[in-house]
Amino acid sequence: MSTSIHDAPQLAPPRLRWLKTTIAAFNANKTSWLGLVIFFIVLLMAVFAPWLAPHDPVEQDVLSKLQAPFDNYYLGTDYYGRDIYSRLLYGARISLVIGVASTVIALVLGSVIGILAGWYGGRFDIIVMQTMDMLLAFPSLILGLILVAMLGPSMTNIIIAIALTSIPSFARIARAPTIAVKEREFIDAGRALGFSDVRLMGGHILPNIFPEILVMGSLWLANAIRTEASLAFIGLGVKPPTPTWGGMIREGFENILDSYWLVLAPSIAILIVVFGLNILGDGLRDAIDPKLKGER
């Protein structure tokens, strides 16, 4: 039987096919499922923090300050008698919002820069990528902390600073596959049909390199959450009394000699989220990396 249009229904509709490839990518390395589950649990805890938290995260109760965990409070209380468990839940919101927002901004801007550089090539490519390399060479944490210090530690500024420091990485990631894809026949075909550069880049290059960018996005989300915590630990986080994980560690550090659980709980929280995102991204990267295909 020759192939005809009637064979088409046997293929999954485009949207389902996309879902299938995604699931296949997850199945290629089972640990990425674990990463996804960890991330989702944290996400749910952050979203439902007002219902899950037994106390107001900023309510002070000096009479019950510095209580040890597992007594009256799940994870004890801090120097001002605030419930650490409730603060952890609300702190997750800050971490996730800053992490996701800065990663999305960096992903979009970085991809645009990388695709443009790869597509047009020549001198434009050289100048853009040398600039990116220069930014990449500068210690990103120091760049971030100087930016936040200059702009002032507000949520928006922290997001901008973290996004700026990760743009070069996304530009690098987007550029290489763009160069490879632009030599393919279907791009020539599109050009012959008179498609504009914008349409070719947006409609034909982007979908081809999107999986790679997205996987890097999950790894950079881990990085962004770590950076936000580091900035907050230095004192450049969202202003107190708003709970942030890094800020909780900063405050707890002052009482580390007698109440080390103050730093332990938020430390473990950061570790779990970042580790979850790392195994998620790492597993997916193995699955989509053509070099590694068929190795498992």
Binding site: Q130, P139, I142, M150, R226, I256, F275
Partner: protein, 312 residues
């Protein structure tokens, strides 16, 4: 090789120049008047004008720019607004602490990471591989200040093997005590990274034809792994070690704070808290210098491990 190095050196100079321009711009695009910010809202107009004059902010922008560039080259980086001492003196005073910490951490990270990566690659998809991969992923997940705090709790507070504040190094033993935990902290995180890079580089090299030829000739397995394969796998590793220095310096800031150790990290945080713009400007220049010098050194090392570079 000469041409290669000259090209790289020229590129470094361009980088240095570009970053200096960036530093100049960043310090000046701050919303608001730095003099106003430094003196606070209560300050009167004459005091602000006087400080603007002292900082040279009243001069034309282009004038300031060339003055800044000339100063940066001559080592005149202005005077700290807080201590009144030249910025370069303040930096030179603490620089050895940071360089020493970074250097020891780098050696630790490489010395732990490379053998682990080789071990994982050789035992691919077996227990050692799984263990090192999970361990290195955990290592990569640690924000450096979290691992530093955990080391501090474990070894200084609970086991009491090391002092909580590590600034004294009058005897070799005290020096060892003061650097062990900070260097271990930075070294272990770096090792996690190096292990992964070494592993994938080794996996690639082990599939090469010459490895098969060496096996067929009957070259002992350890010689193949450690001499023939590793020598080639080290090429990407050297690049990564060089690139990693930027991360290492960033991480050292956090490590210095947790272990209360003098260095560039404590200096920059102090400058940030006190809004010492001149100091911040100088710090950015010194960080850039370090990065540029390391890039040149990386290129040299690159030429050393990969003879092919000399030809190009």
């Amino acid at each position: 090789m000469g041409a290669f190095l000259i090209k790289r050196l020229l590129f470094s100079l361009v980088t240095l120049f570009a970053v200096l321009t960036l530093v100049f711009a960043v310090v000046r695009i701050v919303p608001g008047d730095p003099a106003q910010v430094i003196l606070g809202d209560q300050a009167d107009a004459t005091a602000i004008a006087a400080l603007r004059g002292r900082l040279g902010l009243d001069r034309p922008m282009l004038d300031q720019y060339f003055g800044f560039l000339a100063g940066a080259v001559k080592g005149d980086w202005g005077v700290s607004l807080v201590t009144g001492r030249p910025v370069i003196r303040e930096i030179v005073d603490v620089l050895p602490w940071t360089l020493e910490l970074t250097f020891v951490s780098m050696i630790l990270g490489t010395a732990i990471g490379v053998p682990l990566g080789v071990w994982a690659a050789v035992n691919r998809n077996r227990m050692p591989d799984y263990v090192t991969r999970i361990a290195s992923l955990i290592g990569l997940s640690f924000p450096p200040f979290v691992s530093a705090i955990l080391l501090l709790i474990g070894f200084s507070l609970m086991l009491r093997w090391f002092p909580v504040i590590s600034g004294n190094r009058s005897t070799p033993w005290m020096w060892f005590q003061s650097i062990t935990l900070p260097a271990l902290n930075l070294g272990l995180i770096m090792a996690a990274y190096i292990t992964r890079v070494t592993r994938s580089a080794m996996l690639e090299v082990m599939q090469e034809d010459y490895v098969r030829t060496a096996r067929a000739k009957g070259v002992p397995w350890p010689v193949i792994v450690w001499r023939h394969a590793l020598r080639n796998a080290l090429i990407p590793v050297v690049t990564v070690v060089g690139l990693y220095l930027g991360i290492l310096i960033g991480n050292s800031v956090l490590t210095e704070i947790v272990f209360n150790r003098p260095g560039l990290g404590k200096l920059i945080i102090g400058a940030l808290n006190q809004r010492d713009y001149m100091m911040l400007q100088g710090m950015m220049v010194i960080y850039t210098l370090i990065v540029v010098v390391v890039n040149v050194l990386t290129d040299l090392a690159y030429a050393f491990v990969d003879p092919r570079v000399k030809l190009s």
